[in-house]
Symmetry: C3
Subunit: 489 residues, 3 copies
């Protein structure tokens, strides 16, 4: 089964990791102001809330909660069930997503927190830090999609921890230093997660050439389970792309994402039928490429891309994604020895790059004419610098001094952020892959791939009873046949 | 497989439709004011939002979002999984719902938009237009329920586009000219969708008499998949019926719908057991009739029907619906040759008519005594006309001048709206059916009905391997038997 | 099949129960003020809502709605699918959860209402009463988990009605007389529901010793269905624990629950692998024990337990729960003859008791230092009494006079509430079990246990066709064999 690092050691390691997480969260984090009982302000506000006049919207701190829960469902149900499409790896798909995400959401809270220490060297926990953590967890789940069925759970946990650290650094550099915009995290989460996972898979493929495996395919039922994941992801994608925004940007991100993902859904179906035998639909395309529009609009979700822009980029992503499944994935597997179980390159990789490029184009086209002062809210680096900022902008609209960037400069920084992301993902992915190959976290033998039996105590089953029945018949049969000669002699 | 219009042409048509949708949405729509970056008002409000005093509830524009997402889940997960009950049509049920709805939500945005052009001949996209579009899409999905397993995807797309156009006209006439109330769209969506679909099926039945088909039934697993759809529909129905309302009407619609749909659930179970062999429950009834109360309360959801009214109408709907499945559906199929795969007549048709009648009765009973001035908010046509409207009503309560209708007049208009809806649905359904029968969108042969193989590239499966195994045994067996005579001779 | 009380009588009883519920809800309840059209205040507020200045947050009354829908999903989808893990009881699991909950939510509205009559002897229906009813329904569903597969539906309905009455009394005593705190209802719902169900099972076991049953186990597919329930419960648990709170307590409850349930998820996986053969995961543990942290933090969810406290209590609960499945459940079944189908003792029983103890410890540690005046909001009984209450506390922070309790006194009352709950549950459970054993609600014979065929009209199936096929082969085979001797003679 698993070599070098025994199963027992993996279990001990898992306990150890949780203990370390408890200690780190315990020492590094504290309740944010909104969740702190020890702030009289909170109590006073609640009380004023009962006062007819001068009433404050209590719900304001909960504004984000329904969107947070949508994202929550996307991570655990969406990604989890999406990966149940393999005929004999459904329990691992949903079970390991559950485990990995529960570990990594804690890791993400710490990573996120370390960047935002308050004066007491404590990070605040709040609804928005929980949301950020959920979003971050999507990146290692995407990488997991490339490796599905080929790793131990401890390899995934280890990979996820490393990935989240690099993810946090990459996002911080791009957001705070390059001041690049990526509302729906299409570059930082989707492209990053995909190329990180593919880099790991590339390293694995150097050792063992990817082969055909009899369990690497769906069953009729598993395809229907996988659609639970697909459809929940599709439905809640507007929440994913808009949760970190507010005001008119948020409304726009919801509308843009719905249009884009609708476009990709229709075009993915159409392209699937176009390139398939007898013009039928292919479940792999429908489960994945229909979502590409959600990724592709992500970076520009809050921008003024106009309805037609959203529809076109989504449709392009759907087209590109299906073509990727049909032509690019087999090529990459054969030539580069990169095996990609779920085809994350087609759902997250290419559409993520597309999103980055589209975001840069939109940034290049953004003028004060079409955005008015909101331009400086969406692209803070484009705001006038301290000297040029008028007092009207400051006082009436709350605009902070920026870097005085032109539209083309901003576009350049967007492309730079995309490049940085791709480099960080690939390099750190290769390094992670090399570590994972050393079997410190165990490994799965070729014959055990894509098989739930590696991770789960499976019960004897009716189905197997059926086969058992068949084999009993066979036996009787062969005994009958055996008796024949004897009888006939 | 498909005749006249080949599969290839259908694919080309699907691409073409999406391109037309992109052009139309691109030219006809624009971001609504709340989603427009170019309105300084939005920015200013956001900024004031950070100001302790004089703070405005930013969340107000998001108020509708959680309900929108509930409805979103109902359309794609609810209707999609509800229709997976057939043993060999689950992939088509969920897959075609996905495709059809993604096409039609764009069509609905256009239809809806055309009615609400601003001065620049542009329709505003906003959360409420997205919500209206989702609600509209329910109508063709209901029609699809009557035709499930018997059409090509292009027949469904074509039908849906025609249906949405007629739906929009019908709703506009009834809401704006007849000023009939239908908060949960039980007449405009449920009754309309059901009778439209049944009319199409009627036309189909003229050509080919509905026959028994060996694939037209559930499997043990498919019934459990279908319950995902049922339960999500049941849970989020209060959102469906109340999303377009606000204030106390909305609260009332939530409460009324919960009571009504709980009543229909219990009575549907009880009736199912009452009329079944050995008093057992029947999955078809449980999957569908339990929801009838959500439909039946729809029209009157925002009215003062009192808790007991809501419970009674829901219970009646549950009873009627199960009896419909048992006695009416076979009768209609045999005598009128109307085949109704999901029994939409029992879940949407009759309960929708019941809703219309109940709404009229509630309207007839509505007095200023029980509603006070809210009467004119709920039934705007009952408000006093311009001369009679007091300045108190206008200034303090924002009541606009109406048509001075009496309660009975309003009830009459409610019945008129129901009648108009049924006529529009039936006539346009028949015409649509006649067009579909010409095979411009392809057609499904009798032997291919209810079979996923028509639309999907299906993989070889373990199950089939099992059967393969069996057939091999059979073969060995028969050879053994064949050898017997030889051996015994 | 069912003895004494025939199936027919059960159906009639179900109709009767719904009629009684309609009459009781009709006479005892009315719309709450927020849902009453006849309050001019509502109309005026709505209108002012359109006024730029002096705007009131309309959404305030909807603040609870998204959380209510989360809890709604937990009850019907969460509990329903969680119980589909048995290989041949999936339709009953989801179907009976559906029926039972629809009956009991109405019962709970009445029970809840009776305690809160207004001056006209009417109970108000509102979003918060709907939420309370949903929460209450969780208790009998937990009891149902202990009895799954061994009862008629009418036994469950009867048990649920009795249980909800005792539940209401118990919660009222503990909340209003003992003034114990239990934000997430871990004592009042989880511990109560578990020990009530176990007491019923204990009485059943006195009559018939629990035996091994060939249907009492999962299938590969049913385990994946069950995970739908598990994951939705896991995701929405923060809503369950925080929905009844507001302000900073609510934020804290969300954060604490997320941390606690993440800890229990990871530790449950680790413990499962630690104690299993070959260090593999066990689906029963993953489906249930991962959730134990949500229960264990419930009582103290709104308290200042600090992130580390939440993580530790969750991890402990995960550990305890898996050990319970492995060692305690078989012991209890063998020695005490308490059969516990879903292992509710491990998911709700022990973690519920743990929650009560943890809540008491947190109450003992609560000082004005760490909570400031919020202490008296969270523990109202600790507030100074009328004479000692300063006017600042009253006027500026809205604190009401309390019982002047010390921290240790409050802790004592917390333990008292836990004790009262366990006693009420056990005693009323035993009595209910004795009544149920008399077969007034029917009973399920040993050979029919865990079998959907008891409750459902099952269709002939392909699978069965497969077995049919096999048996035909067998027959041919045996005839071949029979012929052998003849042939060979």
């Amino acid at each position: 089964m698993l070599s070098v690092c025994g199963e027992k050691q993996q279990v001990v390691l898992l306990f150890l990791i949780e203990i370390i997480l408890i200690v780190l969260i315990g020492t590094l984090t504290t309740y944010g102001p909104e969740a702190n009982a020890n702030l009289l302000k909170n109590l006073k506000e609640d009380y004023n809330g009962n006062n007819e006049h001068n009433r404050k919207p209590q719900s304001d701190s909960l504004r984000i909660y329904p969107m947070y829960q949508d994202v929550h469902v996307m991570i655990w149900i969406g990604f989890g069930y999406l990966m149940t499409f393999l005929k004999r790896y459904g329990q691992s798909a949903i079970g390991l997503t559950f485990l990995i995400s529960a570990v990594l959401v804690q890791v993400a809270l710490i990573c996120e927190g370390v960047l935002h220490f308050d004066k007491n060297n404590k990070a605040y926990l709040s609804l928005s830090s929980l949301l950020s953590a959920d979003v971050a967890v999507a990146a290692p789940l995407i990488s997991m999609g490339a490796l599905l069925g080929k790793t131990t759970y401890m390899q995934l946990v280890f990979m996820g921890i490393v990935e989240l650290i690099v993810y946090t650094i990459n996002k911080y550099i791009n957001e705070h230093h390059l001041m690049a915009v990526d509302a729906g995290d299409s570059m930082y989460v989707h492209a990053f997660g995909a190329y990180f996972g593919l880099a790991v898979s590339f390293v694995f493929g150097r050792k063992d050439k990817p082969k055909e495996h009899h369990l690497e395919g769906p069953s009729y039922q598993s395809d229907i389970f996988a659609m639970i994941g697909t459809v929940f992801l599709w439905l809640f994608w507007p929440s994913f792309n808009s949760a970190s925004l507010d005001g008119d940007s948020q409304q726009r991100a919801i509308i843009n994402t719905l249009l884009s993902i609708s476009g990709s859904c229709v075009i993915a179906f159409a392209t699937s039928a176009l390139i398939s035998k007898d013009n039928k639909f292919n479940m792999v395309h429908v489960q994945n490429s229909t979502l590409a529009g959600g990724v592709a609009i992500g970076t520009a979700a809050g921008m003024m891309c106009k309805p037609i822009g959203a529809l076109i980029i989504g449709s392009l992503a759907g087209l590109l994604s299906v073509l990727g499944y049909k032509y690019l994935t087999p090529f990459i597997q054969k030539r580069l020895r990169i095996h990609d179980t779920c085809g994350v390159h087609n759902l997250h990789g290419m559409p993520g790059v597309l999103a980055g490029i589209f975001g840069a184009i939109m940034a290049a086209l953004a003028t004060q004419n079409s955005y008015d002062y909101s331009l400086y809210e969406i692209f803070p680096a484009r705001a006038p610098n301290f000297e040029k900022l008028t007092s009207e902008m400051r006082n009436d609209y709350g605009i902070l001094p920026g870097n005085d960037r032109t539209a083309l400069e901003q576009a350049g920084y967007q492309i730079l952020a995309l490049t940085v992301t791709l480099l960080m993902a690939s390099i750190s992915g290769v390094i992670t892959g090399l570590i994972l190959r050393t079997s410190v976290c165990g490994s799965v033998a070729e014959e055990d791939k894509f098989d739930d039996a590696v991770h789960w105590e499976l019960e004897e089953e009716e189905e197997e009873e059926g086969l058992h029945e068949i084999s009993k018949i066979k036996e009787r049969n062969s005994r009958a046949n055996d008796q024949l000669p004897m009888g006939t002699i």
